[in-house]
């Protein structure tokens, strides 16, 4: 949910009815008109009014009558308007041209860098190097420092030597990272060379340039184009300087004024990725996974915003911002992580070396492709990590080593979630709970949007519609289910609201530029915003989640943090003014993109510690938090969804690149509202959306208040059947999902991956973003077009085999057309993988905890396969803090022998057992199987299916968390 139905205070939807009044007065030739317009719109009311109870809203036809009545001497033809605005109102959001610092940075001319290194000031140690950097125009000095990190990552930091005011360094983004060492650098008059692993880092002094090379080839160069810009802090000149950009010292956008008391403080730097052919990253944008050249249009914008009815295929800012860019070619993958939470724009130019340009380049003596990028931020330091790869999975590991990985989620959060803005009463929740059972559709989590609160005061319940929230939660938990309730960061300014009173009295609110509590409009009407930069505010807010503090909460209640960009309906670009003041005296402009992250961090911590009756940390339940806004590092605290999308095929299609882009930037736990948030999907779109959504990590159906109900059984039995089978398939794959999340937690490997992540040398994959890989074992290419009953699937990997998961039909490298009627999802096992599943799908995932497993052993061309299974209690921290509460199993099949062994030192006495083994890709034969556990050998029944060439081994019945061997003959 979220986003104003209509952005305050403008109206986007107007129905103007006109009735004519014609008076003929006095003059035979003159017609005097009275035009009476009735305008039905929202203008007289703040938008939250539209979110009061659905009955009253829907019953309420808002109306405004405006009239014109005057003697006029011309016929006024007032046109009758009937306008439904169904996409973003772009004028609410800035273009680069409307942003002073973007204008200033973007107009820099290449090749004229004024920055030089002061080589005399060079200092170095085994773990660092510092050198002075001078702007030769202004003689202002900066300190450039380099640090070698583990995995050959290089950190570059540039600070002002004597800033008038400290610049903001974002906390909570970086984890403790490990430093590495380099040998004594070799220094000459105009350059310094460092050896970092197998790479050579070269610092050129005039003009400043930094290059990193491997194997004699430079793969990344900084300030190559001379776009480095560092606006030093300075005092406001008494006279206005006309040579400065007019927005340097104060700026207006629409009706909003930005006082900019500290003046221009932008930083910018260009990065050239030599030899790279594609660029990815910079989420969140509703755009293709591969970044496009921005020349001639706007740069990609990173500024967390609540964009009402966002448009797809454009670089506009969205709810989340992760300043990680990855450049890629067959040879090499390189990442740049630009640690800056202020507003950031990134220009990208992808120069692919095709035949025509190679001729041109040949003449120019440059035959290489390249990706040129230009990062521009409004404030902060230059702080950059160069992630050298060389392969995509290396870059992902290097990035998550810095920003952390997602913690292992409770298993229920990987199951199916059911939500709608207007699930309006506990009776409603009970009825839905029962209906899912009646229609035999598994469901783990019911969601409540803002309607559950008492007048949009979070941590309260509507006393009528949710009079007994604990009983409601118990009804759900009696079926193994959970509840999620929304907690937004805007606090209703209501003197009877404890949270408002506490925050006011304790000074926990964000301040406006005049240092008074900032007030904005959001769902509750007049609201203020907790300043999460303040550690006391954070702790206070976190403790609101304590079961004692949150009346009506139980340990099975989890949390949805929405609107945390933060969304302010009447603020500039629907967020906070940049000259608001946070803890420490920092301006909102300096911290903006970090706000959502710190908010979810507070929630995450609050949930861990909410139950005082649980003393030992190991026994506490793992939190689940969903966020809309995110920054680098948010994966440590929350899952994310792609916000308020629409029930349109194009939005279904864009959900894959959006989540893939987030996943390669650390945030694997991503999904899109199944069915689309705004408007109404037809049965076909709904089924296809369930199918695609079932193979994204976060799987939730959600819809707007104004959308019709769309529970799976409301579209006829055929649709219900299709959706049931999709949801059941998702549940059967939960062991795989859970294992992948465990692996992500350990390694940082994305749970979902673009094809090029696993097949980086296959250039056919570079532009594909409607396929995804689940780990490295499943390839998914859902149908995402209206009326389509077949899809073209690209099967990567030169000697790979891919098996349809339903029919075991085999596909080899290349493109194939796959039939996909309405109930078919094209999903394929990679030959060579072993996939654990649970085929006994129950009402909810906790009820499946002790159920037996089936292993799918899918052979590669050499007749081999490997795979993993992770299991634990699915909900506590015991897995991490004890040796006896989890198991990580490795399976290997080679030479007709399948073996199970522990892949970690942990052991787990799980009641689950091995129900069956299905070996796919065998030649027809008379097979026999025997099981070896310790000294015992038992023969097992087998069945060979000649139509699918698969062998099913019946009931080995060994404990799943144990060592064993099965041999087939």
């Amino acid at each position: 949910m979220a986003v104003p139905v209509l952005p305050y205070p403008r109206s986007t939807i107007e129905i103007v009815r006109i009735s004519w009044k014609i008076f003929v007065v006095l003059l035979p030739t003159t017609v005097v008109l009275k035009s009476c317009q009735e305008t039905y719109d929202n203008s007289p009311l703040p938008p939250h009014t539209y979110r009061s109870s659905s009955v009253s809203i829907s019953g309420n036809l808002q109306r405004r009558i405006s009239k014109m009545s005057a003697v006029v001497f011309r016929l006024i033809a007032a046109a009758s308007l009937l306008t439904f605005v169904s996409s973003v109102d772009r004028s609410n959001f800035k273009t680069c041209e409307q942003s002073s610092f973007c204008r200033r940075c973007r107009k820099m001319e290449p090749g004229k860098s004024v920055y030089e290194l002061d080589m005399d000031s060079l200092k170095h140690s085994a773990t660092s190097l510092t050198v002075g950097l001078v702007n030769t125009d202004t003689a202002v000095r900066f300190v450039l420092s380099l640090q070698p990190l583990k995995d050959d990552v290089l950190r570059l930091n540039i600070k002002e030597e004597t800033p008038l005011r400290p610049r903001f360094t974002p906390p909570f983004v970086l984890e403790d990272y490990v430093l590495s060492k380099w040998k004594t650098p070799s220094k000459s008059a105009n350059k310094v060379e460092l050896e970092l692993g197998s790479q050579t880092v070269t610092l050129h002094s005039v003009p400043f340039k930094l290059e990193v090379a491997a194997g004699g080839k430079t793969f990344i160069s900084l300030n190559e184009r001379g776009l480095l810009q560092y606006e030093q802090t300075r005092t406001k000149p008494p006279e206005r300087d006309d040579s400065e950009d007019p927005g340097s010292w104060e700026e207006n956008f629409k009706s909003h004024h930005d006082s900019k008391p500290h003046g221009p403080t932008a930083v910018a730097l260009d990065f050239t990725f030599k030899g790279a052919k594609f660029a990815y990253g910079l989420p969140e944008h509703a755009d293709s996974l591969a970044l496009k050249t921005t020349t001639g249009g706007d740069p990609y914008r990173l500024y967390n915003l609540d964009v009402f009815e966002y448009e797809i295929n454009n670089p506009m800012a969205l709810y989340a911002a992760i300043p990680l860019l990855i450049a890629h070619s067959e040879e090499r993958t390189t990442g740049v992580f630009w640690v800056n939470p202020s507003e950031t724009w990134v220009d990208v130019k992808v120069e692919t070396n095709n035949v025509v340009s190679s001729l041109v380049n040949f003449v120019g003596g440059n035959q290489e492709s390249a990706v040129e990028t230009h990062f521009m931020s409004e404030s902060g330091d230059i702080d950059v990590f160069i992630l050298p790869g060389p392969k995509p999975m290396d870059v992902f590991r290097q990035y998550t080593a810095l920003t952390g990985t997602a913690p292992l989620p409770p298993i229920f959060s990987l199951a199916f979630h059911q939500s709608k803005w207007d699930y309006n009463s506990q009776d409603d929740v009970d009825a839905l709970d029962k209906a899912f059972d009646e229609y035999d559709i598994p469901m783990d989590v019911m969601w409540l949007d803002i309607e559950h609160t008492d007048s949009k005061k979070y941590f309260t319940w509507d006393p009528y519609k949710f009079s007994d929230p604990i009983a409601m939660q118990h009804n759900l938990t009696a079926r193994g289910r959970k509840l999620v309730a929304i907690v937004d960061p805007h606090i209703k300014r209501d003197n009877s609201y404890f949270l408002h009173n506490d925050a006011t009295n304790l000074g926990y609110y964000v301040k406006n530029k005049d240092n008074a509590d900032y007030e904005g409009w959001c769902w509750p009407g007049s609201s203020s915003y907790i300043d999460f930069l303040n550690p006391d505010s954070r702790e206070y807010f976190a403790s609101r989640y304590n079961l004692k503090n949150w009346q009506g909460s139980t340990p099975d209640l989890y949390v949805w943090n929405d609107m945390n960009e933060p969304s302010v309906f009447n603020g500039p670009e629907v967020t906070m003014p940049k000259d608001n003041i946070h803890f420490g005296g920092f301006e909102h402009r300096e911290v903006h993109n970090l706000v959502g992250l710190i908010y979810t961090m507070s929630t995450h911590g609050g949930l861990i510690n909410r139950d005082d009756s649980i003393v030992k940390l190991e026994d506490k339940k793992r939190p689940f938090v969903l966020t809309r806004s995110a920054f680098a590092g948010s994966q440590r605290f929350a899952a994310i969804w792609t916000g308020d999308n629409m029930a349109e095929w194009s939005h279904l299609r864009i959900s894959y690149p959006m989540c893939l882009s987030l996943a390669i930037a650390g945030m694997s736990f991503c999904g899109a509202d199944v069915g689309g948030f705004f408007h109404n999907p037809d049965a076909e779109l709904l089924v296809r959306w369930y199918q695609a959504g079932a193979y994204l990590p976060f799987f939730r159906a959600h819809a707007h208040l104004d959308s019709k109900r769309r529970e799976p059984w409301l579209f006829g039995p055929e649709t219900t059947d299709s959706i049931r089978s999709v949801v059941k398939a998702r549940y059967s794959f939960l062991p795989l999902w859970y294992t992948l999340f465990y692996q992500h937690n350990i390694t940082g490997d994305p749970v979902i991956r673009p094809l090029w992540a696993e097949y980086p040398e296959d250039s056919n994959t570079f532009n594909i973003d409607d396929h995804l890989l689940l780990g490295n074992s499943l390839l998914v290419r859902p149908v995402m077009g209206a009326g389509e009953t077949q899809v073209s699937v690209y099967f990567p990997g030169a000697d790979s085999l891919w098996y349809d998961i339903d029919t075991y039909q085999v596909y080899r490298h290349g493109t194939a057309t796959v039939q996909a009627g309405l109930s078919k999802i094209p999903v394929f096992y990679r030959g060579g993988s072993i996939v654990p599943r649970k085929l006994r799908v129950r009402r909810s995932s906790p009820l499946m905890l002790n159920d037996p497993y089936t292993l799918y052993v899918v052979l590669d061309s050499k007749g081999q396969a490997t795979g993993y299974l992770y299991l634990d209690d699915g909900e506590t921290f015991r897995y991490r803090l004890r040796q006896d509460s989890s198991a990580y199993m490795k399976y290997k099949f080679a030479e007709n022998t399948l073996s199970s062994d522990f892949a970690s030192s942990h052991r787990f006495d799980s009641p689950s057992w091995l129900e069956r083994v299905v070996i796919v890709g065998l030649k027809p034969d008379q097979y026999k199987a025997s099981l070896l556990t310790g000294e015992t050998q038992t023969s097992l029944d087998v069945k060979f299916d000649t139509t699918t060439n698969s062998l099913t081994i019946r009931k080995p019945a060994v404990p799943i968390a144990s060592r064993w061997i099965i041999k087939i003959k």
Partner: protein, 524 residues
């Protein structure tokens, strides 16, 4: 429902035997199928397995028949014996999942489930008895309603017949009156012809005089404006006249003058008369206080007042009123256009209206006779129309679907209310549904009678084409009609925006059960 279908298939394929030693999850009457000395044949014939594989926790049969007592088969079913209550099949996925689904708890081996079959059975029996009682009292009332409906229908049909007869008479009367009227009017017209000619002559003379006066007035103004006496008016001559300051900025601009002169440099007196004077005249009249701009209508005043009201729940009803007002206004408009012809030249105000000519006695007599004939015709015509109206109303009611036995007919027009926390809902059967906030009485229409529909396999009433929602559809209401001992509007909800759902209980829906004990029989 989908369980039931499968279960029925199961039942049909099973012979009925009673055996004590039965596998878990199998009803008594199917246990013999599992008592095989040798191999077990899957019910669907797909394969044959050793009988030791029955309920061994591994699914061997595609139809799930080998695992009636475990959760091994995704498509299988478990039979809860539920001794003391009603036996039932549940999905295999509910077996041993830690939740007690059978009332005898037989689906859970690994946790203790209380046997609640006795209590459930008692409750079910009590409910069935209560239900049977409601149906029996309800169906008695229903019989009365059917009887009443029959009476009503007969009465209506009687009335209709009578009206049809009266209509024939009335038509005859009307025809006679019309003939009489036509004759009287013909005589009257002939007599009046002479007076009409005279009237016309007087009227023409008046118009001529008025034109002349108007021309003279314009001529005088022209002479007055033509300060250089050259027979032409130009911009400079007009500019000195403050009266031409249209925008009241204290200055007469060239643009303003050009507008009066229709962008001409100068104009002759002929042109002045033919068009320019028309532009100038109102300003002279305003100057002389003869003209004021039209006042805003009274109803606009009313709208202003409404606009100032807080836009709360009360806003809804007003919208409808406004729409109505709109229509009224439009009607007014057409009248106003007519009034508009009363341009100043023709404004008779202040002048005495021309006196009625003096008619001779015979003419007066003829006029009186014609007047009487007209009035007689009007009343006979009205009588016919009111008959026709009543006929059509009765026909409409007679053709309305009041249920298979007309049992809802006596409820036509009756209203029932339901009050929740915020609103009072009113269902007026076969008419409309409304909603009014408790705080004030202004109603909003949730739909008008449309017809019978099917909802959830039951018959329901649809009231649609209610007031439109903001950014949404027209409101509509589906009324689920169920048997109850009294008429009662039980609940109201809004499952989709602007789509309301009501539950209405009425004896009219209580069809008698053939066997009143049905429902208590399928227990063991």
């Amino acid at each position: 429902m989908y369980i039931e279908q499968v279960c029925i298939l199961f039942m049909l394929s099973l012979a009925v035997h009673c055996v004590n030693d039965i596998p878990r999850g199998v009803p008594y009457n199917a246990s013999s199928l599992y008592k095989t000395a040798g191999d077990f044949n899957c019910f669907d014939g797909s394969s044959s397995i050793p009988s030791s594989y029955i309920n061994d926790g591994y699914c061997d049969c595609a139809d799930g028949s080998d695992e009636p007592g475990t959760s091994a088969c995704p498509s299988g079913f478990f039979y809860c014996i539920n001794a003391g209550h009603v036996g039932e099949y549940i999905r295999s996925s509910l077996v041993d999942d830690g939740i007690c689904d059978c009332c005898d708890g037989s689906d859970e081996r690994y946790r203790r489930c209380e046997n609640i079959c006795g209590a459930l059975s008692d409750a079910a029996r009590a409910e069935a008895e209560a239900r049977a009682k409601i149906i029996s009292t309800g169906s008695e009332v229903r019989q009365k309603l059917i009887h009443q409906a029959r009476q009503m229908r007969l009465q209506k049909e009687d009335r209709l017949r009578k009206l049809e007869e009266e209509k024939v008479e009335a038509e005859k009367l009307k025809e006679a009156a019309e003939a009489h009227k036509n004759a009287a009017e013909e005589a009257e017209n002939a007599a009046l012809q002479i007076y009409r000619q005279k009237e016309e002559e007087i009227k023409q003379e008046r118009i001529r005089k008025e034109k002349e006066d108007a021309w003279r007035e314009a001529h005088n103004i022209f002479i007055n404006l033509d300060s250089n006496q050259n027979g032409l008016l130009d911009v400079e001559e007009l500019k000195v006249k403050q009266i031409f300051d249209r925008n009241k900025d204290g200055e007469v601009s060239d643009e303003e003058i050009q507008w009066y002169l229709e962008l001409k440099e100068d104009v002759t007196e002929d042109v002045f008369h033919s068009s320019i004077w028309q532009h100038i005249k109102p300003f002279y009249m305003m100057e002389m206080g003869l003209f004021t701009p039209p006042e805003t209508h009274n109803e606009n005043g009313a709208q202003d007042a409404e606009e100032e009201e807080p836009l709360g729940e009360g806003g809804k009803e007003q919208v409808d009123e406004d729409e109505k007002q709109d229509d009224d206004e439009e009607e007014d408009d057409s009248e106003n256009v007519g009034e508009g012809e009363v341009i100043p030249q023709n404004n008779d105000e202040g002048e005495p209206s021309p006196a009625e000519p003096e008619y001779d006695p015979r003419t007066l007599e003829l006029m009186e006779a014609a007047k009487e004939a007209r009035s007689e015709f009007d009343s006979s015509n009205q009588a016919l129309q009111s008959l026709e109206q009543e006929i059509s109303q009765i026909k409409e009611k007679l053709s309305l679907d009041y249920g298979p036995e007309d049992e809802f007919a006596p409820l036509d027009g009756q209203c029932f209310t339901h009050t929740d926390r915020e609103y009072i809902y009113k269902l007026c059967l076969f008419n409309q549904v409304t909603q009014a906030p408790k705080s004030d009485g202004s109603e909003i229409r949730l739909g008008a009678w449309s017809g019978w529909v099917e909802a959830n396999g039951k018959s329901a009433m649809l009231y649609d084409k209610g007031q439109s929602c903001w950014n949404g559809p027209q409101r509509s209401t589906t009324v689920l009609v169920e048997c109850g001992s009294d008429n009662e509007l039980l609940s109201v909800s809004e499952p989709n925006k602007c789509e309301y759902l009501m539950q209405f209980k009425t004896p009219a829906a209580c069809k008698p059960i053939e066997d009143p004990d049905q429902g208590l029989h399928d227990e063991l």
